[in-house]
Assembly symmetry: none
Homo-oligomer: 190 residues x 4
């Protein structure tokens, strides 16, 4: 449980993994990851027992980063719309600014290497967001749905928006706004 090993190397490995997976997919050899991280092939396995472990920890780390980004300075006391827009902006901005990390999360999400346990862990800590969604629901046609439906909907529209902007970067602002409006209408419409 103790982790006496150098955290720098661990981070270097994860960073290398992000870069390489974004470029070449989940099948990148561990040896390549180690080399890009400036670490020996064998040492990778003192930081991560198996490749699968590396992938799971990477997934968690990225999800944590995304969540921190969205929620650490979340304006709890602002108006509903301000808060919703805040979430939207932080997530979409992250997806655009860190397209490699975004891609990796996407790849890992559909892969079969992420354990249930990891998935569960990655979904914790979104209380503020759930609350927000519930508040939004109150006004509209989705009022009887569980908040999880709302967050899934939000996530799906944010992802769609990020991917659409990736294809049409010159009109980023326009789709950024349009996406949010669509979300707002979807959830609050009656």
């Amino acid at each position: 449980m103790a982790r006496p090993k150098s955290p720098e190397k661990r981070d270097a490995l994860l960073a290398a993994a992000v870069q390489l997976i974004a470029e070449q997919g989940l099948s990148v050899p561990t040896s390549k990851i180690a080399k890009v991280a400036g670490i020996s092939e064998g040492s990778l396995f003192t930081y991560f027992e198996t490749k699968e472990t590396l992938l799971n920890e990477l997934y968690l780390e990225l999800k944590v980063e995304v969540r921190a980004n969205m929620l650490d300075t979340y304006p709890t006391h602002a108006s509903l719309e301000v808060r919703a827009r805040y979430i939207w902006d932080m997530y979409v901005r992250f997806g655009i600014a860190h397209s490699d990390k975004y891609k990796v999360i996407t790849q890992l999400s559909v892969s079969d290497s992420i354990r249930e346990q990891t998935k569960r862990l990655s979904m914790e800590g979104y209380e503020a967001l759930h609350a927000m969604v519930q508040e939004m629901f109150a006004y509209g046609a989705l009022k009887d749905q569980p908040y999880a439906f709302g967050t899934a909907l939000l996530l799906s529209l944010m992802n769609m928006t990020i991917e659409f902007i990736a294809l049409h970067p010159s009109e980023a602002d326009r789709f950024w706004d349009a996406g949010f409006i669509a979300f707002w209408n979807a959830v609050t419409g009656s």
Copy 2:
């Protein structure tokens, strides 16, 4: 004059690929696919030059099936809402009824094995859908967006709905409807 290439075998290979990829991911060995299809390992390559080709043809075949399912009996002359709901129902139904095919499409979509050409081909034939989205846009806040934004939005919500239902199958109907309403509001809301 020789034994003709048998479409049944081709289909068996594709079906085996669907089953195995849904279960085990894109990394299933071609040998397993051949075995499940009841065909020798080498024969697979008389039907598909490479594994990549198999994957591309599979992708196309599945997309074609989805499209046919959505559009072959599309009620062109029905009201906008009926038509929208028709698309929604057919796609979502397909995703739920053929969760293995649905998973395979998802996996292939994010993989790097699908060629640009294949992607392009898979996007043809959606004119009716584009038209429908444009009609919907006319009424709402998204009126200035390209129809592609609308179809992306539709696709993303249908997928979200399918996946949500897969997690909560006992309440399928409820989320099925909720998803549609969300979509309707998202696109027509002002």
Copy 3:
């Protein structure tokens, strides 16, 4: 033993084999040979039981062609030098004019696919040449060697000359002559 099958197809197969082996080596697939010959993959095996058989028959055929070329109009009654030069010219000319056949003979000679029996057969019919070599030996330092040594020597110098000319084609005539002189001196020198 009877060979009722179309000799044209057999010849086409051998010709295709010459071309492809010269270009790509002995490992050319039989399927390629068949295709270039305009014959189906399986039919190749009605003309030649195995690939090895094809190779052996090809070797023999080429050797026979070379021999015919050298000896069919051999000037039996001409002077020794004229006869020697005749052999030299005919063989070297063949090697240069049919570099593909020449290459194939060379490849087959060192390969392990030619049976002893084939090698033996390919060495028959050189009586005139042996006689000539023996006549040459009479005058010089090699007088006590078996004629086979002389023919080996001749062959080796002709091959060397062909290969040298292949590398320096612009000065073909010069090396052609020089080779012959070297041979003449080698065998008749005292």
Copy 4:
């Protein structure tokens, strides 16, 4: 700091390759080579990136050995005939004593796996021999030919002699001498 790459294993692989290629031709599986070398199948590829690389390095190694054998104790200041005979003896002796290596060189020379670069490298370091040939030319009918023609001639006669002796080992000495005399007369005759 890790286990260092062992030159013994590299040598064992090369030696195994020599043995097996001499016996079975260039198509020996890498797996067999590894097994005979007492090394795991995968390890072969830590010593040689590809089979082609193994073959090229083997070729070079053998050529270097032959050259060293011929030239390392070459009697630079001896008479022309002594020097010529020295070359002849060393090369022919090598060919007879190491018939497996000799065979491998022959096979590789005609194969298409040897890169131009490798061929070029393998031809360096023969200055003494070139000089010797040129000296011999001075006396005879070949005086106007480039020295390369002379070395080609020498090589071709040495190879012929080795192969002839391989077929008639009981009379090795006789053909050994005869070959040299033939060479001497070929090059110095007028």
